[in-house]
C-alpha cells in the first residue's frame, strides 16, 4: 500500500523533507535486534509506502510539493538531491512567484481554485504510480496562508476526487505568541474546514516541540530545523513498519488504514495527538539505557496528566475512581485527560516483555467504549532512528481542548470587534462563514468535553 504525501507551504515542505530524511536514514541504520529477513521486509514495506524505486535503485518520494513562493521548494528539492539516499520527483512540484500573505482566505478562495487543476494533475500522476493507493498524507501549518488556506482547499479537492481514499492531515499548531496577528483566524478556519473533509487531523503544537528541543534535547539556539526534526521523528515512529497484531506474521502494509480504524471511526472525534518517549540529544543517547516498565509508566502518566513531554509530569493526577460520578466542566482546569482511543507503538529490544496493562484501565476511556475497543498496540523488535527502545502514543483524547478553547476564544474576541475581518471578506469569506466556523469548533469542544 502506498501513501501520497502532499507538502504544502513553507512549513509543510520543511517538515516533509525532514520526514523523508528520517525514514531513509532509519532504513539504512543498523537493524538492532531484528533478523536480516525481517529487516529486509521492513525496508520493502517502508519503500512501498512512501517511495517508488527507479530502475537504478534510487528512492523517489511519492510526494507533491506545493508552495506559492519558489524559494523553499527549490531548496527542499536540492537538499534531498544532495542527501544521496533519496530524492523528490523533480516534476512533482508546483510553485509561484508570490505568496498568500498569511491570509487564509487568499489561499482558500483565490490561489486554491486558480491552481487546482495543475496541482491535482500532479497528484494524479503520483497516484497512478501506486499499485494500491492507501491514502493521502498532507503536511501543513495551521496558521499561515499557503499551507493552511490552500492546503485546506486542496484537502477538499482530494476528498472529492478520491472519495474512498484515506486522508490524514498533519497540521502544525502555531506558537501561542505567534508573529502573525491573524493566526487565530487562520487556525479556526483551517480546523473547521479540515474537520469536514479529512478523516483525521494529526496535531503538533509548536510550543511543545520547542520545549522538547530546549529541555530534552538541550539545544541552545533552536532553529526551525531542530523543531521539524523532532516532528519528523515522531511521524516516522508512527509510519515505519510495525506488527499490528499479536499474531501478525508480516509487517502491516496498511498502517494508515489501521491507524484510522482504531483511533478515529467516530466522525466527531478526529483530533490526534502524539507523545513519544524517550527523546534526547544524540550525545546523551549513547550513555543511556532504558527499560520498558519505566518508559511505559512515564508514557501513561503523560497521557492521563496531559503532559506532552516526559519532563514536568504531574504525578498526582489519577484516573477517577468512578468515571461517571462527576463531570468536570470544561472551563475548570482539566486535570485528568480522558481518551476516546489510544494507540501505542513500541519499537526496539525486548519489546515482547513490555506490559501495557496500565493502558487497558477502563477509567482512562469514555464509558461508551471498552478498553478492548479503545486501546491498540503495535510493536516491532526493530529499533527506530538510533533509539534502542522507543514508545509512541497516538491519542484521540481531550489533550487539545485547552489550546483549542484558547484559540477559539481569542479569535472570537477579535471577531466580536470586527478586527481584520474585512481582509477575509474581500476574498470571499463572509461573516456567515466565520459564524459557521465558530459553531463547528464549539461543537467539537462540546463533544470532547462530554466524553
Amino acid at each position: 500500500m502506498s501513501v501520497v504525501t502532499v507538502q504544502l507551504g513553507q512549513c509543510g515542505n520543511q517538515v516533509g523533507y525532514e520526514f523523508f530524511d528520517i525514514l531513509c536514514s532509519d532504513l539504512h541504520s543498523k537493524p538492532g535486534h531484528s533478523t536480516k529477513r525481517e529487516n529486509d521486509y521492513y525496508q520493502t514495506v517502508c519503500k512501498e509506502q512512501f517511495f517508488h524505486e527507479e530502475e537504478c535503485g534510487d528512492l523517489v518520494t511519492r510526494a507533491v510539493l506545493v508552495d506559492m513562493e519558489p524559494k523553499v521548494v527549490s531548496k527542499t528539492l536540492s537538499m534531498a538531491g544532495r542527501s544521496g539516499k533519496w530524492k523528490y520527483d523533480i516534476s512533482s512540484q508546483f510553485s509561484q512567484k508570490q505568496g498568500c500573505g498569511n491570509n487564509w482566505a487568499n489561499g482558500y478562495c483565490v490561489h486554491g481554485p486558480k491552481h487546482q487543476d495543475i496541482v491535482m494533475d500532479l497528484v494524479r500522476k503520483q497516484v497512478e504510480k501506486c499499485d494500491r493507493l492507501g491514502g493521502f498524507f498532507t503536511i501543513m501549518s495551521m496558521a499561515g496562508g499557503t499551507g493552511s488556506g490552500m492546503g485546506t482547499f486542496l484537502t477538499r479537492c482530494l476528498r472529492d476526487a478520491y472519495p474512498d481514499s484515506l486522508l490524514l492531515n498533519q497540521v502544525i499548531w502555531p506558537y501561542g505568541t505567534g508573529e502573525v496577528i491573524v493566526q487565530n483566524y487562520n487556525s479556526i478556519l483551517t480546523l473547521s474546514h479540515l474537520y469536514r473533509s479529512s478523516d483525521a487531523l494529526l496535531v503538533h503544537e509548536n510550543d511543545i516541540i520547542h520545549k522538547v528541543c530546549s529541555q530534552l534535547m538541550n539545544i541552545k539556539q533552536i532553529s526551525f530545523r531542530d523543531v521539524n526534526k523532532v516532528i519528523a521523528h515522531q511521524l516516522g515512529s508512527i509510519f515505519q513498519p510495525v506488527y499490528t497484531s499479536e499474531e501478525a506474521l508480516h509487517y502491516c502494509r496498511n498502517p494508515l488504514g489501521e491507524l484510522m480504524e482504531c483511533l478515529v471511526p467516530h466522525p466527531e472525534y478526529k483530533m490526534l495527538g502524539l507523545r513519544n518517549i524517550p527523546q534526547m540529544s544524540e550525545h546523551s543517547l549513547a550513555y543511556s539505557t532504558f527499560n520498558w516498565n519505566g518508559l511505559l509508566k512515564h508514557l501513561r502518566q503523560m497521557l492521563i496528566a496531559n503532559a506532552k513531554m516526559e519532563e514536568g509530569i504531574n504525578w498526582h493526577v489519577r484516573p477517577p475512581s468512578q468515571p461517571t460520578a462527576e463531570k468536570t466542566s470544561l472551563r475548570k482546569e482539566l486535570q485528568f485527560n480522558t481518551s476516546v482511543a489510544n494507540l501505542a507503538i513500541l519499537r526496539g529490544k525486548d519489546v515482547q516483555t513490555a506490559s501495557l496493562e496500565g493502558f487497558r484501565d477502563p477509567p482512562l476511556y469514555t464509558p461508551w467504549l471498552s478498553p478492548d475497543d479503545a486501546f491498540t498496540l503495535w510493536k516491532t523488535p526493530r529499533a527506530f532512528n538510533k533509539y534502542e527502545k522507543s514508545a509512541t502514543l497516538v491519542s484521540n483524547s481531550q489533550f487539545l481542548l485547552k489550546p483549542l478553547d484558547n484559540i477559539v476564544g481569542k479569535a472570537w474576541n477579535m471577531f466580536a470587534s470586527k478586527a481584520y475581518v474585512h481582509q477575509y471578506t474581500k476574498f470571499g469569506i463572509d461573516e456567515e462563514e466565520f459564524l459557521e466556523t465558530f459553531t463547528t469548533l464549539e461543537q467539537i469542544i462540546a463533544s470532547y468535553t462530554n466524553l
Partner: protein, 437 residues
C-alpha cells in the same frame, strides 16, 4: 464371489469417502456399513454429511460463498437438510419423520444420501469446485434480488439494553474504514492483474486467450509450489475414476439396503398400522383437496384465457378489415414487410437481453484483449456460454448501484422525516444534525 464382492464394495466406499472428504467431511467406509444396519451412532455423521454437501452445492450454484456455520446445532442442520430435500422432490415420507435430535434413522439417511448422489450430482460439483483454476476468474451475479430492508432482527435484541449511540457510530465508522480498505485491496488486485495480462501478451498457447493468468505466471516462476495442488487434484480425480468404475457395485449394495428396509417396514407396519393408515389417509385427503383446488383454478384460468383470446381475435379481425378497406394491396405488402422486420428485430433484442441476463451469472474467466477496437480491453468469458465485455458488466452494475443509491436516499429521507417529527415534540430543543462521516 461373495468375498470379492465385499472387497469391491469396500473399495467403492473408500473412493466415495475420499471424494466426499474434498468438501470437508471426513467419513469412514465402516460408517456406511453400520448405516445399513440402521445403527444409531452414525446418524449425526450422516446429517452432517448431507448438510455440508447441500450447502456446498448451493454455494456453487449461487456463486456466493456460503461458509459452513460450525456452531449451527444439529437440529437446525437437520431441518435445513429436510427442507432442501423436499424442495428437490425427495419423496420418502419415512425420511421426513426422522426425529430432530438425530437419534435414529441412519439407514433412511443412507438412502437419502444415495438419492442425492444421483439427483444433484454432488460429486461432480465437488470436483468442479476443487479444481485448480487455471484462468483468472471473477464471480458475477446480476440477478435482481429483492431487497429485504425490513427491521434488522438484531435490532430487536438491543431494545431494553442501553447502548450509547456514540458506540454505534463508532462501530459504523470502523465498518466504513474496513470497507475502504477492502476497496483499495480490490483496486490493487485489478491493477496487478492488468499488469500480468499486459506483460504476458502472446505467451499463451491458446490464441483466444493469448496471455497468462496469475496462476500460470506463478507456475512459470515457482513450479514447485503447485505440485501439492495438482497432486491433491489428481487424487480427487483418481478417486472419481475408481468410483465411476465400481459404481454399479454401490448401487447393487443399495438395492440390498432398500430390501432390508422393506423387511423392517413390514415388521413396523404390523405394529402401528392403524396409526400409519390414519396418517396416510389424512395426507392423501389433503393432497386430494389440493389437487382439486388446483384443477379448479386451472380450469378457471384457461376459461378466462379463451375468452380473452376470442375477444382479441374479433377486435383484430375488425381492425384488419378496416385497414384492408383503406390500404391498397401494394401498400399492404410494404407494410407487412416492415412489420415483419420490426418483429424480428424486437425478438432478437428480447432474446439477447434474455441471454445476457442469464449469462451474467456465475464464474467467468477474465481475458484481456489489447486494442481490440472497443474502448475497454477486458473480456469476460464464461466457461460454457457466450463472452461479454467488462464494460457491459460494469454498466449493468452501475445501474444496480444507482438504484440502490436512490433507495438509500429514500430511506434516509424517511428517517429524517421521522426524526423531525420526533424532535418537534420537544419544545425549546434545537437538534443539530450530526457531523458527516
Amino acid at each position: 464371489m461373495k468375498r470379492g464382492g465385499s472387497s469391491q464394495l469396500k473399495e467403492v466406499l473408500c473412493a466415495l469417502c475420499r471424494l466426499v472428504s474434498a468438501c470437508g467431511v471426513g467419513l469412514n467406509p465402516e460408517t456406511f456399513r453400520r448405516a445399513k444396519f440402521d445403527r444409531p451412532e452414525t446418524v449425526a455423521e450422516f446429517w452432517n454429511l448431507l448438510y455440508c454437501l447441500l450447502t456446498k452445492i448451493y454455494q456453487v450454484r449461487y456463486g456466493a460463498s456460503v461458509t459452513i456455520d460450525e456452531t449451527e446445532n444439529l437440529g437446525n442442520r437437520i431441518s435445513y437438510v429436510k427442507t432442501v430435500l423436499r424442495h428437490q422432490g425427495y419423496g420418502r415420507s419415512a425420511f421426513y419423520q426422522l426425529p430432530l435430535d438425530g437419534s435414529q434413522g441412519s439407514r433412511e439417511l443412507l438412502l437419502s444420501f444415495s438419492w442425492l448422489l444421483l439427483q444433484m450430482k454432488p460429486l461432480e460439483r465437488i470436483l468442479q469446485m476443487n479444481r485448480a483454476a487455471v484462468g483468472d476468474e471473477i464471480s458475477v451475479c446480476t440477478c435482481s434480488c429483492k431487497l429485504d430492508l425490513k427491521e434488522n432482527q438484531d435490532s430487536k435484541s438491543l431494545v431494553g439494553r442501553e447502548v450509547d449511540v456514540r458506540y454505534l457510530q463508532w462501530l459504523n465508522g470502523k465498518l466504513r474504514f474496513c470497507w475502504r480498505t477492502l476497496h483499495a485491496v480490490h483496486q490493487e488486485k485489478c491493477c496487478l492483474l492488468h499488469k500480468i495480462h499486459l506483460y504476458t501478451q502472446g505467451c499463451h498457447v491458446d490464441q483466444s486467450v493469448s496471455h497468462l493468468s496469475v496462476l500460470e505466471t506463478d507456475l512459470v516462476r515457482h513450479p514447485d509450489n503447485y505440485t501439492k495442488v495438482l497432486e491433491s487434484e489428481n487424487t480427487n480425480l483418481e478417486a472419481y475414476v475408481q468410483w465411476k468404475h465400481l459404481e454399479p457395485v454401490y448401487w447393487q449394495w443399495m438395492v440390498s439396503v432398500l430390501e432390508s428396509t422393506y423387511e423392517n417396514e413390514q415388521v413396523l407396519s404390523m405394529q402401528d398400522q392403524d396409526h400409519k393408515r390414519y396418517e396416510t389417509s389424512q395426507w392423501s385427503n389433503n393432497l386430494k383437496h389440493d389437487i382439486d383446488k388446483l384443477n379448479g383454478d386451472l380450469e378457471g384460468i384457461s376459461r378466462n384465457l379463451q375468452e380473452l383470446l376470442q375477444r382479441r381475435q374479433s377486435s383484430w379481425n375488425e381492425q384488419i378489415k378496416e385497414i384492408e378497406k383503406n390500404v391498397t394491396e401494394k401498400e399492404q405488402r410494404l407494410m407487412f414487410k416492415k412489420i415483419k422486420q420490426e418483429v424480428q428485430k424486437n425478438t432478437e433484442d428480447v432474446k439477447s437481453q434474455n441471454a445476457q441476463a442469464r449469462d451474467m451469472h456465475g464464474p467467468f474467466r477474465l481475458v484481456f484483449r489489447e486494442g481490440s477496437g472497443t474502448q475497454n480491453a477486458s473480456v469476460n468469458k464464461n466457461f460454457y456460454t457466450r463472452a461479454f465485455y467488462a464494460t457491459e458488466l460494469s454498466k449493468e452494475l452501475q445501474k444496480a448501484c444507482t438504484e440502490l443509491e436512490a433507495e438509500f436516499q429514500r430511506l434516509q429521507d424517511e428517517c429524517r422525516c421521522k426524526l423531525e417529527k420526533i424532535s418537534e415534540e420537544f419544545e425549546g430543543v434545537i437538534c443539530i444534525p450530526p457531523a458527516k462521516g
